[in-house]
């Protein structure tokens, strides 16, 4: 209703068709796909991606991009695992990991908003720097962190929902609230639309932009904790490739770089698509090395499909 983009049935995003098609396809080809256990699997695997993608969506709405979120994810996991190893309490370790993500995001934001670096160079450069920092602090290995809390996070359940899914839903709820009902959310849409208008109406555009990247960093940190708890260890490369998934989920979901359309509700659809895609390939026993190429193709295909459908239904200038 009051969202900048309308979510009514008449304009069902094309993505949904793809997801349904995939569901149908997998249910035929891969036995064991359509079981409760597997569906929960999908949800659990999708949880960190959703959290990451929410951050990616926010950044993309400001007409920026965050290519470092995958590395930050791994870095946060490394950070909290190290803290555990050094004897800090579990909760401090978790908090530390998340904050580490936030700091990385903050630096990204400063590079973009204050130093005016193009977002993808700033975040690409940061990714490189953080990779180096991560490699140095772990000497290239993974840091074990076999602790109860992590075990609980990855395997436990609360109110009938698995914990990772619950966390993801809570975060989605909070983010949704912030996007719609606070200045933070309005700023994000305005920054992408006409940041000059926002500046002239007195808002601190620099601060708003930095906040956006910082929040994306925090979210990457939380996702990193989830992933680390699943493997009971922290590794700098844990999130490699996730930034592509997060960005892809955002774009497939319908958030566009130029028009400020979309939002995190749409991104959920994109996340579901990718999670289903990956899970289905796994269940069907497709070897890892084929997955890369396949997923890249399907994702690009989905984006193209989405864009084409949009263009056909809109009366756009076609040249």
């Amino acid at each position: 209703m009051k969202k900048p983009a309308n979510l009514n049935l008449a304009t069902v995003p094309p993505v949904i068709w793809i997801v349904l098609a995939l569901f149908a396809l997998y249910s035929f080809l891969a036995s064991g796909f359509f079981s409760i256990g597997n569906l929960w699997n999908i949800a659990v695997q999708a949880a960190p991606l959703l959290i990451l993608a929410i951050g990616a969506t926010m950044v993309i709405l400001t007409e920026g991009i965050d290519l470092s979120c995958g590395i930050v994810l791994g870095f946060a996991g490394v950070g909290s695992a190290l803290l555990v190893q050094w004897g800090f309490s579990v909760w401090l370790a978790i908090l530390g990991g998340v904050l580490l993500g936030g700091i990385c995001g903050l630096i990204n934001g400063v590079l973009v908003a204050v130093f005016r670096l193009p977002p993808f160079i700033a975040t690409l450069g940061m990714a490189s720097v953080i990779t180096g920092a991560g490699l140095i602090s772990t000497e290239g290995t993974s840091i074990a962190a076999r602790i109860e809390v992590f075990d609980y996070i990855s395997n436990g359940a609360l109110f009938g929902l698995k914990v990772p899914v619950l966390i993801a839903l809570v975060i989605f709820g909070v983010a949704w609230f912030m996007m719609r009902l606070t200045a933070f959310g309005r700023n994000i849409y305005a920054l992408g639309g006409n940041s000059e208008a926002l500046r002239l109406s007195g808002a601190n555009v620099t601060a708003a932009l930095i906040q956006t990247y910082a929040v994306a960093g925090l979210l990457a940190g939380i996702a990193g904790i989830l992933v680390a708890s699943r493997t009971a260890s922290g590794h700098i490369a844990a999130g490699v490739g996730w930034d592509f998934d997060a960005i892809a989920a955002t774009i497939i979901g319908g958030t566009s770089f130029e028009e400020g359309k979309g939002g995190i509700a749409y991104t959920v659809l994109g996340v579901i698509l990718i999670a289903v895609l990956r899970n289905g390939l796994n269940v069907a026993g497709v070897p890892n090395m084929y997955q890369f190429a396949l997923i890249g193709t399907v994702v690009l295909g989905a984006i193209i499909f989405d864009i084409s459908v949009r263009r056909l239904s809109g009366a756009e200038e076609s040249r």
Binding site: P4, G193, L198, A203
Partner: protein, 506 residues
Amino acid sequence: MLNHAPILQARGISKEFPGVRALENVDFDVYPGEVHALIGENGAGKSTLGKILMGAYRQDSGEIVLEGKPVRIERPSEALRRGIGGVHQEFMLVPWLNVAQNIFLNREPRRWGIVVDHRRMHEESRKLLASLDVHIDTRQPLKSFGTALQQMVELSKVMAAHPRILILDEPTAVLTEREVECLFRRIREMRAQGIAIIFISHRLQEIREIGDRVTVLRDGKNAATGLAQDFSNDDLVQIMVGRSIAQMYPRNRRPPGQEALRLTGVSVRGGPKNVDLSVRTGEIVGIAGLVGSGRTELAQAVFGIRQIERGEMALFGDTVTPRSPAQMVRKEVGLIPEDRKLFGLTLKFSVARNVVMASLRLHFPRLLVSYSKVRRLAERFVKELRIVTPSVNRPVRYLSGGNQQKVVLAKWLDTQPKLLIVDEPTRGIDVGAKVEIHTLMDNLVQQDLAILMISSDLPEVLGMSDVVYVMYQGKVVGRFEHSEATQEKIAALMLGVGLPAAAEAT
């Protein structure tokens, strides 16, 4: 209704932009409860002055005095807080936020301090818009509305802050007659409430209808100030332009030759429908119409940028389906676009590079570029068109509006076109350059070029065209030979007067 002291004064204001001196030592003031009209030609500086007064620009020198005290205003939101509100031509709106969000940008009503109260926001927005006789769904994104309604939203945004001084820059440019009436009613109400209103426009008829005092700016300087009733239209034109009509619009035409362009029943995708039009060599055909009447879309279609869905287009008798600008350039057609900074020029390139950009294949058939030749070509045009620039290597963005337009013209002349489409030839250009460009156009048609001219400047259309077409809401609604065209007839058709079933615009 004049108070004894002006509420807002500008003293000795000067402002310079790269290559252009927009304002030079300008004085201006306005009293509470008066409508003070600020008029002048394009490039005279009235918009710039308005922007300075409302806080969007800062003056280079001079001072602004508010209620007797000098002030420095950093940005429009600050001006608004001090009671000065401005609505100008480039809206300060975010296209995909909804209407209410735009009206209350950064001033949203809150619950508990941080949560935005959407319900109250929409309610207040609706009330504000209703006072302007506008009833739209405030939940729709702003960009789904046309320019006229967007302007109303911008106006409501300003009104929401209850300003004591209101600056309106060309508010009627995009409005229908009925909307203008409604706006004027509101202005009169505000005047009665003691609000000081600065009305920037170049439409003399409106000035005399609504204005108490009038100030004329010419070439960035004060030209005249006085009571509106003391000036006749002709007086004002004379002061604004400083030249006679004959000087402004030279006509040395020969009888027209063969048909260069013929459109039969042409419908453009996303644009005008069922257009019949003809342009002959040796003549200037002008198209008049309001913003949004489809003229630019038509030009884009002829040039291959928009798709022609129906109908036929013929160039010198041969049927043509325009597919791309590259193709049309080969067919000796050129387009000087409406927005020269976005589409006509590459601002960071030099004059020379811009001049040859469209004609490289013409000059270098063997695909190897020679810089000395490029420079010589550019220098030739600089001399012929009297482009003011220290060197042809100077980046085009440092040139004044008039000289920039000349560079665009040079670029197209270099392709040796037979048909030239010109969209707003003298928009944003000072009077001196205007005359030069008009003279150039006149010379060109004397040399058997065919020119299709789109212009929102009625005197220009009347003065320069041999044939005038009028477009309204995507259709051609009238065609006049030069001898039978009058301002009243054309203006009426532009506004849709006397046309059957004229649905409300936007």
